[in-house]
Amino acid sequence: MNFLAVKFRSVSDRIARAAGLDVRLLGMLFMMAVIWLTLDVLTGGLFITPRNIFNLSLQVSVVGIMTCGMVLVIVSRHIDLSVGSQIGFIGVFGALMQNAWLPIDGTSTWWITSLAMLGVGIFIGFAQGLLVAYAGIPSFVVTLGGLLFLRNAAFYINSGVTVAPLNETFQLLGGGLDGTIGVFWSWVVCGLAIAGVALIVWRSRRRRSVHSMAQKPLASDVLMVAIWAIVIAVFTATMNGYKQPKTDIGMGIPIPVLILIGVTIVMSAVARKHRFGRHVFAMGGSSESAELAGIDTRRLTLLVFMMMGLLCGLGSIVTTARLNAGASVTGTMTELTVIAAAVIGGTSLAGGIGTVYGGIVGALIMQSLESGMILMGVPTPLQRMVLALVLIIAVWVDTVYRKARRA
């Protein structure tokens, strides 16, 4: 049994490596496909519908945006427990800005508030990062403090009163009926995305040939682009396939989903192709080695927390805009969902290992299970219990996989 598993693994590994594919990613996508098909059967065909996929993408965007940052925080061997409270605090702050300090109907209100919310996020990350990096307080303690402090600060700055409504342009950032880019622009984005994938693959081939280095087989690159093109086109068609109520007009891609896709691409590039990401991985693997290699680990830690704060600001913009209100309880428990998504996606709490796309797939798996169970009418406590078990099993499978690979 064990022998067979090893055998299968080595064969599938070799095939995938020959084609230049990531085995872990394939495994996780396979898991996703199984979960989706199962849920579709269990819900009697309600799960894989444009309507549900549309809602699913919208629901996953906030957790996904923050998971991108959390992956790097955990890779750097830290943790940020304050992200849920950051969402709440920044949300109330932004809502207050629109209602108390700026004209709510002003044409610039939406972007001034957004920038300010991002700024507050960066500042929170800066403060927490200083305490972790320069005062040497464990990040668990600092951000646990941040969790309590910010949640109550969110309550305190408006005496717990929910602030609503919000600026109409700002609301678009949260998705909803008008918060999509429509059928036409969705296809434009789709075309640009496919062209982008092709361009990236072509540039990588050209760079390798300039340096006269070994190339992946051309067929595998073409196949790669083709698969991406199909995925992107199917996704766009699905988003366009969900019609506005009582009309035949397609919705198109929601703005939060576009933000999530953008954040994922940027953060993946930062993690894998940027010096900053390289240093974060080095520090997470061994802080001492990174230090001896000349990396300023304290500054790096500070930057990691600031980046997390920035993404919390972005997450808060989307949530607050979607709710059309700044409430002090918004984002409660989100920190746990975000950490769980990162960990399900293969990020090691021991540091040094993890991928951004893994975190996104982790977030998708969690959200899919939750939506599926809601569609099935599973009671909320039971949903949470199932998700908890999934978290533990996912990490267990990952541990077994890693051990087998190292052997």
């Binding site: 010096r275 900053f276 693997g285 290699a293 990396i295």
Partner: protein, 249 residues
């Protein structure tokens, strides 16, 4: 001739303990200097001051007669002082190329790295040093002890090192790998790189170093030319802290 590196009257205390007490050593270009002493003799502390891990409480560091300030490992590297630590200080979760360029990545637009250029340069460095690695894209955690040593050495000297500090360079290696390191040290010394070898075991470096510095309890015991002494005499210096008569270099 001015020395390549001079450490003058270096003092370092840790919470009242004198780790290094008023020690001065010098190193010429192309020279292989052995730094000997028991565990706790202060030899690692002394070179960590030179490689920028922590600053000295007092004393001067001179490079080619010029006084320099070394506040961090970055400062030391900028002066061409490279260190191979006993632990090798590699990042096991990264591949060989990433380790070779850690902290000094070749990057272009806004700090995005040029992987191809780094891989190519790494390949060239390893060829030049006649170091063999199976695959540059392998994670360091999957390499053998000798291969890890090769990565650490290549990393230290590919950026035009002038001074190379090796902490217990052969302690973890087999006989064949030890021989390879010896050959490499001779070659680097021919290129004019000043090399400091640190060891607590006289046998490890007696055949490699041309001059030996012995430390005990944070103090300098003495300096001798390897050709003028026997291993037993050096051993006596390490244990008793006394220089054999008429052997002082």
């Amino acid at each position: 001739m001015t020395a390549l590196v001079e450490l003058r009257n270096i003092v370092k205390t840790f919470g009242g303990v004198h780790a290094v007490e008023n020690v001065s050593i010098d190193l010429a270009a192309g020279e292989v200097l052995g730094l000997l002493g028991h565990n706790g003799a202060g030899k690692s502390t002394l070179v960590k001051i030179l490689s920028g891990v922590f600053p000295a409480d007092s004393g001067d560091i001179l490079i080619k007669g010029q006084s320099v300030t070394i506040r961090s490992t970055r400062d030391a590297k900028a002066l061409g002082i490279e260190t191979i630590y006993q632990t090798l200080a590699l990042s096991e979760n990264l591949d060989c190329v990433a380790n070779l360029f850690l902290g000094r990545e070749i990057a272009g637009w806004h700090g995005f790295m040029n992987d191809e250029a780094m891989e190519k340069k790494a390949d060239a460095t390893l060829n030049r040093l006649r170091l063999r690695l199976p695959l540059l894209s392998k994670l360091v955690s999957s390499l053998s002890g000798g291969q890890r040593q090769a990565v650490a050495i290549a990393r230290a000297i590919q950026f035009n090192a002038r001074v190379l500090i090796m902490d217990e360079p052969t302690a973890a290696l087999g006989p064949e790998e030890t021989q390879n390191v010896a050959t490499l040290i001779a070659e680097l010394s021919n290129q004019g790189i000043g090399i400091i070898l640190i060891s607590h075991d006289i046998h490890d470096i007696f055949g490699l170093a041309s001059r030996l510095v012995v430390m005990k309890n944070g103090r300098l015991v003495g300096t001798v030319n390897t050709g003028d002494v026997t291993k037993d005499e050096v051993l006596a210096m390490i244990i008793a802290g006394k220089v054999p008569e008429a052997r002082q270099a």
